[in-house]
């Protein structure tokens, strides 16, 4: 299994190296779909230039990276391309290992549940078999490394690549059951882009399951573990924030990063829903709608956790997708991360309803983004509505994709427990409906 992975990594690095050397690199790094004000490489360079000029990078409204990234690239700026390629490869390998471990665990769990007779006899067709699971980790790595979205992000040197790597490491640490590392990487991810804070419940659930601690309100061990994990997380976050404070000796970075993420002052077009909505919003409703839209990202985790408390990995996937759809400055790099996890749920394909339409939608939208951008910004023959329409349909596509997977997951679970071929009381074939 290692050989194909090495091959994939080599191919991916070659593709990136070629693109870095080509004239396309400049073009890609200016694309609004690939870079956002939060993670554009040009702004990182600007932040370093401001630091060299003796001006605080956070005194202006151009630089919104975290201080640690700023100082990291202060040392590594000459090797930036290599750093980004290595980060991408690291993410893929981490995801590979995480998925491999997770699959092993899932197989064990499935066996256990079978032995406990939790599954219906008629649902055995749905059980996962090792041969099918064998290639899943490799597919995940492949999906991440050779996804055009990831390639574009890497060639544009979007720091989203680094955020993805941190999240991948967090997933690996969680899957391996190392609660300290999991908390550390989660806090780094939160520090980097704030939204990963919503990944805390799935990680906690996963670790609890791994430790065989029952999730009950009355169980003291549940509370003890949760408190331990949360305090590790908060402590690490505190260390990171304080460290940033001591690097710059000012708290300016807090409003400049987290305030910027939450209040959405920069309306540069991107693939998300925020920019045009707030460009066209009436001023006195602006705050209200900012709150509504931000609650959207943070709130879904609560009902999802309740619904999917036995399946923390799927919960994590769902939340990653929700973040990348509803976050304030999404880029294709965020989409690439949850798309890389799609092969993990390949066994749901039987229940997917509109995967063809959705993939067509996503592909067409991706191709139309640069076209309509050109028509609006350069040719002047279209206006902002054209680009906006594409972002809308891209997001509808993503929402349909995610809800389709959610539906398929729930349906498979039902069939596992109630049998694949449902019959009515009179013996005729029954249909399944959501009620």
């Amino acid at each position: 299994m290692a050989a194909p992975l090495v091959l994939v990594v080599l191919v991916a690095v070659t593709v990136r190296a070629i693109l870095f050397r080509s004239s396309l690199a400049e073009f890609i790094s200016e694309r609004v779909e690939v870079v956002s004000p939060l993670n554009s490489w040009k702004r990182v360079v600007e932040g370093m230039a401001l630091l060299d000029l003796g001006v605080s990078p956070y005194s202006g409204d151009l630089f919104h990276e975290t201080p640690l990234i700023l100082y990291l690239f202060h040392f590594l700026v000459d090797y930036a391309e290599i750093v980004f390629m290595i980060t991408d490869a690291l993410t893929a390998i981490t995801l590979y290992l995480a998925v491999k471990d997770y699959n092993k665990l899932m197989f064990k769990k499935q066996k256990l549940l079978l032995e406990l007779k939790r599954y219906s006899q008629e649902g055995h067709d749905l059980l996962r078999v090792p041969t099918e699971m064998y290639y899943v980790p490799l597919k995940v790595a492949l999906f991440y490394l050779l996804n055009p979205y990831t390639v574009l992000s890497c060639v544009a040197k979007s720091t989203c690549v680094i955020n993805n790597a941190v999240i991948a490491l967090f997933i690996l640490a969680t899957v391996k059951g190392s609660r300290l590392l999991s908390a550390v990487f989660l806090s780094v991810a939160t520090y980097q882009s704030l939204y990963p804070i919503t990944l805390l419940p799935p990680a906690l659930l996963y670790l609890l399951q791994k430790e065989f601690i029952p999730i009950k309100m009355k169980s003291p061990s549940f509370w003890l573990f949760s408190c331990q994990y949360c305090s590790m997380y908060l402590g690490c976050l505190c260390v990171l924030v304080c460290h940033s404070f001591f690097l710059l000796n000012s708290w300016d970075f807090i409003p400049s990063i987290y305030g910027f993420i939450l209040s959405v002052p920069d309306l540069t077009p991107n693939i998300g829903l925020f920019w045009y909505f707030f460009a066209e919003m009436f001023e006195h409703f602006s705050l209200f709608f900012v709150c509504v839209f931000q609650i959207n990202v943070f709130f879904y985790i609560v009902p999802l956790t309740i619904k999917l408390k036995d399946h923390p990995m799927f919960l994590m996937f769902m939340q990653l997708a929700v973040i990348s759809i509803f976050k304030s400055y999404p880029t294709v790099g965020d989409v690439a991360l949850y798309m890389a996890l799609l092969p993990m749920w390949a066994h749901l394909s039987r229940f997917l309803r509109n995967v063809f339409i959705v993939s067509c939608m996503l592909i067409v939208c991706t191709l139309l983004f640069p076209v309509l951008w050109h028509l609006w910004i350069y040719a002047g023959s279209a206006n902002s509505n054209f680009y906006y329409a594409i972002t809308l349909s891209f997001n509808v596509g993503q929402i349909l994709l995610v809800s389709d997977y959610f539906y398929a997951f729930l349906r498979r679970e039902y069939h596992l427990h109630h049998g694949l071929y449902l019959t009515k009381k009179d013996g005729t074939e029954a249909t399944l409906v959501l009620k």
């Binding site: 009436f282 509803f326 997001n395 009515k424």
Partner: protein
């Protein structure tokens, strides 16, 4: 680096003393008009009215104003103003064709104020002051807010008696979109002791002034020394108005100018309150050729002055003397060119120093601001202080700043950069750049255009946004050596700026304002956008809600509903078993 800054700052900040001809203790008013034939065939007329108040508004409470306008006096006392400079300009002084200006002002409105160090909340005073000035001059100065105000560190120094060096007391703002017209001229004329009733100000007729290529009116208030040892301080109000008449549109294509042709009236009397009332005509020829034109009526008074490092000859008409006026009691100074047409006047000689600016790039995503600075001095290098104020909606990338002279990188010896804050403050970039002799220096910086909220666009958003001109402050070495004591004690030509020694002179130039287009949202459909985006969010919410709150159930046979009843009815008709 710091050394060069200090030297430059010291030169510009050197206290401008002198001006003590009149006996102290009495207010003085002087009026002057200078006619300068320009090489292009156009003519520049510069009016200057100076009112001196012999009382220190900073220390004593002045309640009796004679000829100094009370409204401005009260303003100075109330807001503890150290210096105030305000200008309204239409058009652009073409330095390349017209030569260096006596006092240039940027297109639109410009206001810079030094406050006294007793002011605690400078921003508040500044805001109130600009609103009051907006009322006094009927201008849109109330649009000055934090998004277009900057505090330059080195470009603007006090021009009067001052010992302030703390630049936090300075505020500078320009409104490049401001349109100047009659409603700004009328209140400006009302500040004069004689109004427009008598004296040179009677020439200021709006329908002629605004039919010109360049028009600039300004107000400068500063404290000056009353006597040689500067023991007491006076306040000076200097009102200047420069207008350039175009040879083709105002002069019927001829270079022969007269006061009547320019202003469609003649001078009949001086202002009775004026202690000095003079008209000067620049008769210095280019090079060896003199007497290119003859003046009518002729005057015997001539004086030589060094202006901008160049010796100029001026014919002088003293309006306070009755002999100046003709028998019909008026004066119409006319220039008659001796057989030379405008075409044969030759190429205008390029000035020692000038600058131009433009935007390059295409599309609405990004662009480059380029400033070209020309040093045409044959053998001397000198530094220039460049001030750029760029509004926040053009996001400047300071790491892309490149300064090249003759293909080589030119590192600025001083750089001060304050990045913009969205919707709060503009970018401020100040640089001290050394210009080698006979060179062109190109300064370019990349920017990105922001998409604004639909309510933040001005009317006619596709017209574009005006970016204020960059300010170039420069100490130019003189070609001829001039001595300080040779300078006239108080003529028009000793301009506002101090000249510490004869070897160089100070000049402040402004480049063109820029017009930059920004991407615009569709202004007609906020409701549609709100509805559509909310629909997408609702699609997300709805599908999640559906899956989260419902559970799978085997469809119950009973309770068909209306649709099923109808379907069964049709099936029965077709003879198919019902559902």
């Amino acid at each position: 680096m710091a050394g060069a800054v200090l030297v430059a700052a010291a030169l510009w900040a050197s206290v401008w003393a002198g001006q003590c001809a009149e006996p102290p203790g009495s207010d003085v008013f002087r009026e002057e008009l200078l006619l300068t034939p320009l090489r292009s065939g156009d003519i520049a007329a510069t009016f200057q009215f100076r009112t001196r108040l012999d009382a220190d508004l900073r220390k004593e409470k002045v309640s009796h104003y004679r000829i100094f306008p009370k409204v401005l006096g009260q303003l100075i006392s109330k807001y503890s103003i150290q210096e105030l400079h305000l200008s309204f300009t239409q058009g652009f002084w073409r330095t390349k064709a017209w030569g260096p200006p006596l006092l240039q002002a940027p297109t639109g409105a410009e206001l810079w104020v030094w406050f006294q160090d007793s002011v605690t909340d400078v921003n508040k005073s500044w805001k109130e002051l600009s609103n009051i000035l907006s009322g006094i001059f009927c201008a849109s100065l109330n649009f000055i807010d934090s998004t277009n105000t900057v505090t330059p560190t080195a470009s603007f120094k006090p021009l009067g008696v001052a010992n302030i060096t703390d630049h936090h007391l300075l505020r500078y703002a320009t409104l490049p979109r401001e349109i100047v017209c009659t409603e700004n001229l009328t209140p400006w004329k009302k500040l004069l002791p004689c109004g427009s009733k008598a004296g040179l100000a009677s020439l200021l007729r709006a329908e002629r002034l605004y039919h010109s290529s360049y028009h600039s009116q300004s107000v400068h208030i500063r404290p000056i020394c009353q006597n040689a040892d500067c023991s007491s301080v006076s306040w000076e109000l200097r009102q200047a108005l420069t207008v350039v008449f175009d040879m083709y549109s105002s002069g019927q294509g001829k270079r022969d100018w007269s006061i009547f042709k320019m202003f469609s009236r003649t001078v009949t009397e001086s202002c009775p309150l004026a202690s000095q009332s003079k008209i000067y005509v620049d008769v210095s020829g280019s090079g060896k050729e003199v007497d290119l034109f003859e003046l009518n009526p002729p005057t015997s008074l001539e004086r030589q002055v060094v202006v901008h490092g160049d010796r100029r000859v001026y014919a002088e008409y003293d309006l306070s003397q009755q002999g100046t006026f003709s028998t019909s009691r008026n004066l119409n100074v006319a220039l008659k060119w001796k057989g030379r047409t405008a075409e044969s006047a030759g190429q205008p000689q390029s000035p020692l120093f000038h600058a131009e600016r433009y935007v390059s790039g295409y599309g609405l995503q990004s662009g480059v601001i380029n400033t070209m600075v020309f040093n045409n001095h044959p053998y001397r290098a000198y530094p220039v202080m460049l001030l750029e104020t760029v509004p926040w909606y053009l996001r400047l990338y300071v790491h892309t700043l490149t300064i090249t002279t003759r293909g080589k990188e030119n590192k600025p010896s001083y750089i001060h950069y304050e990045p913009a804050k969205d919707r709060q403050r503009p970018h401020l970039l100040e640089m001290l750049i050394q210009l080698p002799p006979n060179s062109i220096t190109k300064i370019s910086i990349q920017f990105e255009r922001a998409l604004l909220k639909w309510t933040e666009y001005p009317p006619d958003p596709n017209h574009g946004f005006y970016i204020s001109p960059s300010v170039l402050s420069v100490l130019i070495p003189s070609v001829i050596n001039q001595k300080t004591d040779e300078l006239e004690e108080s003529t028009l030509f000793s301009t506002l700026f101090p000249s510490s020694d004869g070897s160089s002179y100070f000049m402040r130039l402004y480049t063109e304002p820029l017009l930059v287009n920004l991407p615009t949202p569709d202004f007609s459909m906020p409701y549609n956008v709100i509805c559509l985006t909310c629909t997408v969010v609702a699609v997300g919410y709805g599908s999640f809600y559906n899956l989260l709150t419902r559970t799978f159930q085997v469809e119950d046979r009973k309770g068909g509903g209306l649709a099923k009843t109808i379907a069964n009815l049709i099936r029965r008709l077709r003879g198919v078993p019902p559902l």
